[in-house]
């Protein structure tokens, strides 16, 4: 997957775990939690969804890499490079 695909995967996950939020104006360089209601349990949902969908195991000490959209995409790029782009 390329960066754009990974961004969309994250948007889809956020849409499921925070269904009341408008994600259309999400700013990629700003922390998720500064622009939407996202507590630690929601954050764990992001980790869980990545584990379920792509078998990505994210160790706890690396959770901070998922602070914003741009850091999340950068972190996931090497881990999802061999995953095919969604049709």
């Amino acid at each position: 997957m390329i960066a754009e695909d990974i961004r969309q995967v994250i948007i889809d996950i956020l849409a499921r775990i925070a269904p009341d939020e408008d994600l259309s104006d999400l700013q990629d360089d700003v922390a998720f939690r500064e622009q939407m209601e996202l507590d630690s349990m929601d954050f764990l949902d992001i980790v869980m969804e990545l584990r379920k969908q792509y078998r990505v195991q994210i160790p706890e000490e690396e959770y901070e890499q998922l602070i914003s959209m741009s850091s999340t995409v950068s972190y996931l790029m090497p881990r999802l490079k061999d995953v095919e782009s969604p049709a």
Binding site: R16, I17, A18, P19, D20, E37, M41, D42, L44, D45, M48, R51, K52, Q57
Partner: protein, 418 residues
């Protein structure tokens, strides 16, 4: 003997708000209308593993008082409880922004809790070759036994005590009883009390009743639940909730509240006899104790809201108990709400009482539907069959709720008069 002086108005507990979610109504007036017009709430329902069954399914607007995220994170019983609690508080007319929420308590009866969420998670990990690392971190907060009551406190920012009361199918009454007790003890000033159930959302309860030979089947879902009928063939499981605002009489009078009725008597006891089978002797003793505490005799009761679930033995045992307490005459009127909505488990006792409260105003005992030919082994002459019965004036309603492991609960509500 009660430890409380029941002549002291502060020990008189009244119902001042009602919120409910029933398979045939989303508020008290709709529910009452459906009960008086003979309208069932039972329909076909799809389950995982078992395929279609019959169930009482609620259609209240889950997002009226919850954000989608809250509903997703919580449980169905939490959503039901939140809906009913908001409705009850709204109905009570309490100024919620001014109330001291340290002095509000939430006491909800449940038959069981956590089976739905556990089954969902096991299904989920089965899709990942039983890899437990995909087991949800939401599992524990969803399945702790206080979940539905706790979700109410989060939603309404209630900081007084909350708990669920696990009491099998006697739970709805048990929720009311606990509310009454906490008000009389002075532990709270407002009790949000009743019962809830989400039981239809796992196959387990249906499959267990089926294995027991106690799950109802019928070509027409609306005719499936047939308490006291010779052709009854078991239980229709339902979901739902019934929650009241309970207050001490002087507090209710001071704020000019609408008073639906006064809880004047209650009792709970145990059969100590069998895991599943009911016991008419203990049921009768439970009713007699409630009557004694209410300071009335059997002849004072106008309506008995029966527990009968349309199982073979359950209906016979309750009929015997009712005959022992009330005799073999034509009164009191005996009706049955399950014939309309099925067995709402933790919510059953609550919904069955609330559906009868309207009788204080309209003088009508709603019917028992689907009773085409009474089982002679039940043989109660007092059953209101098919159509509502006009009683003229109704002063006392006695509500029965019995459950597995031999748990019995009875609540008596009196038409309010100062």
């Amino acid at each position: 003997m009660s430890m409380f002086d029941l002549r002291d108005p502060r020990n008189r507990i009244v119902i001042t708000g009602v919120g409910l979610a029933a398979p045939n109504g989303n508020d008290l007036s709709e529910f009452r209308t459906k009960l008086l017009s003979g309208c069932s709430g039972v329909s076909d329902f799809e389950t995982r593993y078992m395929g279609p069954v019959l169930a009482g399914v609620c259609e209240f607007d889950q997002l009226r008082y919850q954000k989608r995220k809250e509903a997703r994170r919580g449980t169905r019983s939490g959503s039901i409880a939140i809906y009913c609690a908001h409705e009850a508080i709204g109905d009570s007319g309490i100024d919620w922004s001014a109330i001291n929420r340290d002095r509000v308590g939430v006491f909800l009866g449940i038959t069981e809790h956590g089976n739905v969420e556990t089954e969902n998670e096991i299904y989920e990990i089965s899709q990942f070759d039983y890899d437990t690392s995909v087991w949800s971190h939401h599992h524990n907060p969803r399945t702790v036994a206080n979940n539905p009551a706790g979700e109410v406190t989060l939603s309404l920012q209630i900081t007084g005590p909350h708990l669920t009361i696990g009491a099998a199918c006697a739970a709805g009454n048990a929720g009311f009883i606990h509310g009454v007790q906490m008000l009389r003890l002075g532990e709270v000033d407002t009790a949000i009390a009743g019962g809830v159930s989400e039981s239809i959302h796992t196959f387990g309860i249906f499959a267990s009743f089926q294995s027991q030979g106690a799950l109802a089947t019928h070509d027409d879902p609306t005719k499936a639940c047939r308490p006291f009928d010779i052709n009854r063939n078991g239980i229709v499981v339902a979901e739902g909730g019934g929650i009241c605002v309970l207050e001490r009489l002087p507090d209710a009078l001071e704020r000019g509240a609408k008073i639906y009725g006064e809880i004047v008597g209650y009792a709970m006891n145990s059969d100590a006899a069998d895991f599943v089978l009911p016991d008419s002797t203990r049921q009768a003793e439970c009713m007699q104790l409630a009557l004694e505490r209410a300071g009335i005799g059997p002849a004072d009761v106008d309506i008995v809201s029966s527990h009968a679930t349309a199982t073979e033995q359950g209906d016979i045992e309750e009929s015997q108990a009712l005959r022992r307490v009330f005799g073999d005459g034509d009164t009191p009127a005996v009706n049955n709400t399950k014939s309309f909505i099925g067995h709402a488990m933790g919510a059953a006792g609550a919904l069955e009482l609330l559906g009868n409260l309207g009788a204080f105003e309209d003088g009508l005992a709603h019917a028992t539907i689907n009773l085409d030919e009474i089982d002679p082994r039940c043989g109660l002459k007092q059953i209101v069959v098919g159509e509502p019965r006009n009683l003229g004036e109704v002063n006392y309603i006695l509500n029965n709720s019995f459950g597995m492991l031999g748990i019995n609960s009875v609540v008596i509500v009196k038409k309010f008069s100062e």
